[in-house]
Assembly symmetry: D2
Homo-oligomer: 471 residues x 4
Amino acid sequence: MSVHEECGVFGVISDKPFDAAGMCCRGLYALQHRGQESCGIVVNDDGLFVSRKGLGLVSEVFAPDVLSSFPPGTMAAAHTRYGTTGSSSLANCQPIEVNHLKGRMAVAHNGNLSNAAELRSALELNGAIFHTSSDTETIAYIVTRERLGAPSIEEALSRAMDTLEGAYSLVLMSPQKLICARDPLGFRPLCFGRTEGGVYAVASESCALKAVGAEFIRDVEPGEILVFGRDGVVSRREHCGKAPKKLCVFEYIYFARPDSVIDGRSVHAARLEAGRILARAYPASADLVIGVPDSGLDAALGYSRESGIPYGIGLIKNKYVGRTFIAPEGRSDMVSIKLSAVEEAVKGRSIVLIDDSVVRGTTGGRIVSLLRQAGAKEIHMRVSAPPFLFPCYYGTDVDSDADLIARRHTPDEIARMMGADSLAFLPVESLCALSASRDCCSACFDGRYPLKVPADTRKNRFEQKLSERDK
Amino acid sequence: MSVHEECGVFGVISDKPFDAAGMCCRGLYALQHRGQESCGIVVNDDGLFVSRKGLGLVSEVFAPDVLSSFPPGTMAAAHTRYGTTGSSSLANCQPIEVNHLKGRMAVAHNGNLSNAAELRSALELNGAIFHTSSDTETIAYIVTRERLGAPSIEEALSRAMDTLEGAYSLVLMSPQKLICARDPLGFRPLCFGRTEGGVYAVASESCALKAVGAEFIRDVEPGEILVFGRDGVVSRREHCGKAPKKLCVFEYIYFARPDSVIDGRSVHAARLEAGRILARAYPASADLVIGVPDSGLDAALGYSRESGIPYGIGLIKNKYVGRTFIAPEGRSDMVSIKLSAVEEAVKGRSIVLIDDSVVRGTTGGRIVSLLRQAGAKEIHMRVSAPPFLFPCYYGTDVDSDADLIARRHTPDEIARMMGADSLAFLPVESLCALSASRDCCSACFDGRYPLKVPADTRKNRFEQKLSERDK
Amino acid sequence: MSVHEECGVFGVISDKPFDAAGMCCRGLYALQHRGQESCGIVVNDDGLFVSRKGLGLVSEVFAPDVLSSFPPGTMAAAHTRYGTTGSSSLANCQPIEVNHLKGRMAVAHNGNLSNAAELRSALELNGAIFHTSSDTETIAYIVTRERLGAPSIEEALSRAMDTLEGAYSLVLMSPQKLICARDPLGFRPLCFGRTEGGVYAVASESCALKAVGAEFIRDVEPGEILVFGRDGVVSRREHCGKAPKKLCVFEYIYFARPDSVIDGRSVHAARLEAGRILARAYPASADLVIGVPDSGLDAALGYSRESGIPYGIGLIKNKYVGRTFIAPEGRSDMVSIKLSAVEEAVKGRSIVLIDDSVVRGTTGGRIVSLLRQAGAKEIHMRVSAPPFLFPCYYGTDVDSDADLIARRHTPDEIARMMGADSLAFLPVESLCALSASRDCCSACFDGRYPLKVPADTRKNRFEQKLSERDK
Amino acid sequence: MSVHEECGVFGVISDKPFDAAGMCCRGLYALQHRGQESCGIVVNDDGLFVSRKGLGLVSEVFAPDVLSSFPPGTMAAAHTRYGTTGSSSLANCQPIEVNHLKGRMAVAHNGNLSNAAELRSALELNGAIFHTSSDTETIAYIVTRERLGAPSIEEALSRAMDTLEGAYSLVLMSPQKLICARDPLGFRPLCFGRTEGGVYAVASESCALKAVGAEFIRDVEPGEILVFGRDGVVSRREHCGKAPKKLCVFEYIYFARPDSVIDGRSVHAARLEAGRILARAYPASADLVIGVPDSGLDAALGYSRESGIPYGIGLIKNKYVGRTFIAPEGRSDMVSIKLSAVEEAVKGRSIVLIDDSVVRGTTGGRIVSLLRQAGAKEIHMRVSAPPFLFPCYYGTDVDSDADLIARRHTPDEIARMMGADSLAFLPVESLCALSASRDCCSACFDGRYPLKVPADTRKNRFEQKLSERDK
């Protein structure tokens, strides 16, 4: 599907030098699903920052010789990013590093500011220059400006948070400290843990803590700032509790890895539950339930368990298809390269097919067609998310040009267009059941935005404006 | 696991020029699981051979600019290879291309000759020089020598087959013909199909036919030679029916893709059946059946269905871990990077864990340990293959230095070593149930070799001998 | 030798779109001798900036596929840079691009600010963040801040020049204009010309104008700002004539290409003259005059012509030795790989050997030794520059750790240490004869600095300070 | 110019392991001018061959990490090659390595067999297969076939030499021996030397011996086989003295480096002499003599000395222009990118311009034009070689499609076409003066072939025939 979030963040700190880059690399491997465009690691070697960033997967950017070129360090910050292609975006690789009066700072960021345009204009009016078009640089600027009058970097960050609006889970590194923070509504996940060897690790998802051998301690709370430094771990909570928690529900449905636990709720369990809800709300008479791999499998299992219809393996995903694969002319279907049907499983059978979302409907239509060719008798599509109807301003990127099929067609119409025998979406009113707190942001489905909606919300708003000026 | 086969072959031919390289590339994507070390495509552009080969995955070797540098052609041969690492093995990339009296020839090969050493010695005594250490060059030599006295390349191949012993599925390309052949015992799979546009495609597995939009026609029969050329498709059957079919049973258990159908038997169905057999032979009292992804999932589903124990998703595989990942010092466990347990699913539960094989036992031990850390109460391991006890001379590569645990320990001992509560292997006498013909090669499990066992069977036998001579 | 300047700048503009990137590429080829670490081109495609930058030679960074990925544009700015190694310096590639209130700006810079530290501190106190450690970002900042109150970018640049001290030859590009400027003392060269097709080109040296088919119009004057835009070429001279011209004399001796003409003086002629001066001041009784290729050849010819001693070809330079060549252990002599003596020419002869500088004396010693091994009878070394005695703050980089041999030894001692029969330097009082205006900066030889000497002059002054703060 | 020879060979051997790859790399750097398409090194590590080969310059193929991946060895063979472009030619990289009955063999070859087509046909009739289109593989085959009946590899080589006709300077490496040989007419150079540390080195040119610190011992004689092994150095002379020495005169004029000495004659001295001959035969009234860098400089100096006209530096070569540079559309002149005139030197002057050859006349015409633009009053071109009139079958590659201007035009006509005031070639009857022995091959100038002319002499003769057969 074509919905993307931008980024995973990671950080580690110990009281003595260790292979911080290697640990970050393992953490990034576990967060790779959150972004595949570029990645970066900045190691803090006694105040000296050593960084390597690049376009590509963790395995491509951090080849063994690159990884071994890092010195040991007492801490490190790391990032993996989703974004548009093109070498020009090299400048947008994170963590970004900036030099300022009080020293160097590295910033890794997951999320989107909803008041980015206003903040940026104000900074520019005050003489700021920007090297990138990302919100991360805006955050770095504001922290730096506050730093001029603040006694510490964490105090500067706290003051900056008075100004920042929207979604942000941050890892900041200064010469002496590692700091992480989560926006007051907690749109994006962030948690931390500790290894037996005494290394603290901060990560977007708990699966990355496990990957580095760290035991999960707890989620960073919405609004909380955690400072890891000489004095151990200090929690600052002045931004906590001022707003209801609004974790993005799409983390459970699509973004996060099923083995992660976010804000007290297992992603696997949330997806099983979505399947169960669908089975109750939209039962089907069928021989087999199959999921679209990988993110539809858990919900398929939930549907199967609730309905009693046997679970099957009916679609195989080719894990070797590179990001650069170009479909042959006249056949735009990546789908037939990436997925194939198991004829033996589906032939002559009525199928319940679980997918995690429907955006334009083209991918779903091709999957239905693959199953028909393999002999499926009936196909009842069940979608483990409600239909996308509203834009997201907090870091979820539904292609702006996307022809959102659900805005113009009923489920029955969509089923016909796809060639499915029936189609149903997860009821929007049941979304609260997916999170532990029964409270989350589902604005993209119901339009109930927890914050003021920005005036100009185009993804490339900064880039576009730039060429219009100074002509 | 550490068992590998060497290679997938692919070929296409039409009566007019088309994007033969692009179609081969899609075919190779579908065969990538059969070998990830190197790959190659040779396009026949009106008698001129244009080739690109390289170390790496299809997505790495055939980047868009490389793929677009091929001319259109009326046919092409392609190969994906498993092998040892190191740039020196560039010479071993296939298809190999040779020039001889009657023109150029490209050869792609899957399998291993059991009389390779004798054949090679005889050729060398007659003045042959070898550029590689692969059996493929030996095959090319013998075909070429026969070609001197034969009226056609297919006749030369047929005569060569009198001499060749062992496993081989071949795709040969001459300036005017595409030819494929399968050894008389049919150790390795080979099939062909046709697209709506009239392109014939030959492939190691049927999943690659689907990937290029070709409809499966049938398997190439053991001993059969198929000649695709000006006169359409001609089948030569002089080597057919002289020996019982002996398809490698490990194709069903591990090598092939579940959506492939080989010699009339769906791989998915064979694996389901292996799970069912295990459930009947070695029942367990448990709450959940989980498979080790990806190749253990189908058998896990079979075990679940037969036993009635619910199927679960308990292990997540990280598909982004590169082949070059190097585990940090002191922690050789790729396992914890590649796999993680879904705590929510396994915590407090008794688990039946299905894996496809046990070689040295270390991987299995680590998976058991992951599940224990995630809170699994009991772990009953069931292996969907019998224990490896004998070397394979037909293309399956169990590391020669492998410490085959089953040769020295009973299942109970292995269970204890791994930390599992019980462990059982697929009964060797039930193997016949996996294939459609109820006849297959299972020599690595039972030592019943269908052909004479070679004297020197070391993998690097040619390379080692070379440095001992002419001193 | 180990003396380096940092950078060559280039820019082009026309009133209609053209292959601006291709023309920049040819210009950079001609300026490659001024810097080989990295290079970059930014094309202005109707206000949209498209840039490609990278570490390496122009031929490496601008491979045909990269070059052809640029769109046509009406203008472009380009840069080639000398600098330290390491991928981390990717951030320092120029032209740098910044976004600000009034639009985007690209800046390419050759030189060094002598008040960079003060300027940077002041900016940081005002909330600025820096992404790089280069003076170019400081210049961009100051121009941007002035831009807030200035009616045009050229006015902002002019106001910025009130603040900037030191050496700078600049090419600036805004969405609508190409602007170039030279510092009021004119330390670094800068000139412009025009092609028959109406494209204006700006370049560090006139050889780059020739390379793109542009006819030299004139040098940019010290202090002059030239604005190329809709209104043609506008010269602003408010900073002109306030200080004596102080072109770096080392441009004539070493940096510039012999076919360039700088401030009215041919570099070739200046070097011939240096050779003639040496011949008059330090005659030698010898059979042959040879130069160390490439930069010693012109002076050798001058010495030969003045003295009447025949000119010879006695040393061959290997042009294929890559920058990454690593000398074998225990033999640090790049010299014997890069240079070799023509035994036929030097055997049994007394030689006058002309080199362009002596820094540590090791290279010279090895060349003397090469010639001795080839049979030279006597070697009289003549250096076409005075001895380095003082640090340069205007862009010439004598390694800070360099063991400047001339500070501790007399020419006779140096001759003995190198194994030469005699050695003499260009008299410092004759330097004025090399330039047309008889006035130039020769501070590195005589300590007469035309501007206030900065307090902290370490090359890495910013990087070092950064890790000391905020601990 | 567009005349090329194919290849430089190099080899080293010691009685104990050393950094053989590093020494080869330095040797190849010194031979890089003989071929820039590809290069390779094969190290003999106690009978095990470790090789690295690739397309590109030595500095590109043997990056530090590649070079350091070689083990130490007691010997190594190396090669640098000129050839056509395209990744498909990777197979043609040398040294080629073949495996045969008596062990492994590496072969590096410089030259061209004039009976290659006959030899290849005969081998193919006997069942040989060829992987490449190069003569080197033919040589390897014939040596291998002889090896079957010969007591040693050197005896096999000697017997093979009864069959081989044409030009070949060879380095062969077996598990135990390094062998070099030169064809009986000695078309291509070959020499050997010894380092202080006891390493023997064999090289195409003496400049490569110097580069590795080896003292030149002597040229390998025409027809001589030298065997370096356990018994020291053994010379076999059974093919010596049967024919007059026929060194290719173009080695002196163009191919070899001026600091090399070939068959007793310094290349520098030969070129000086060519200049002197031109000065006597074709005097000119001029102010300055300039050479086209780099290979015209020595002859220019000779002309200057003989005529008394001052030597000047009038053309500068840009050493940074990569091989992949693509001239902008509509301007095919690489010349203006690679060369530039020194206006100061040539303006208003009458010039004698020395180039080493004229093939199609286009390059010369552009150089004349560059000088005119720079203000040269008169240009008298003198070419330090006779006109090319006949094809070479011994390894010199004048482009087969070359429009050899001298075959259709008189020198006066060529001068007019180029825009020169006069033009003269080196008299063909004075060629003998260039070599020490006064005897050399000058067939490309005078058509006097020392061996039978082959029937089919097309460069791609093998490749073309291949696609015609087996249709």
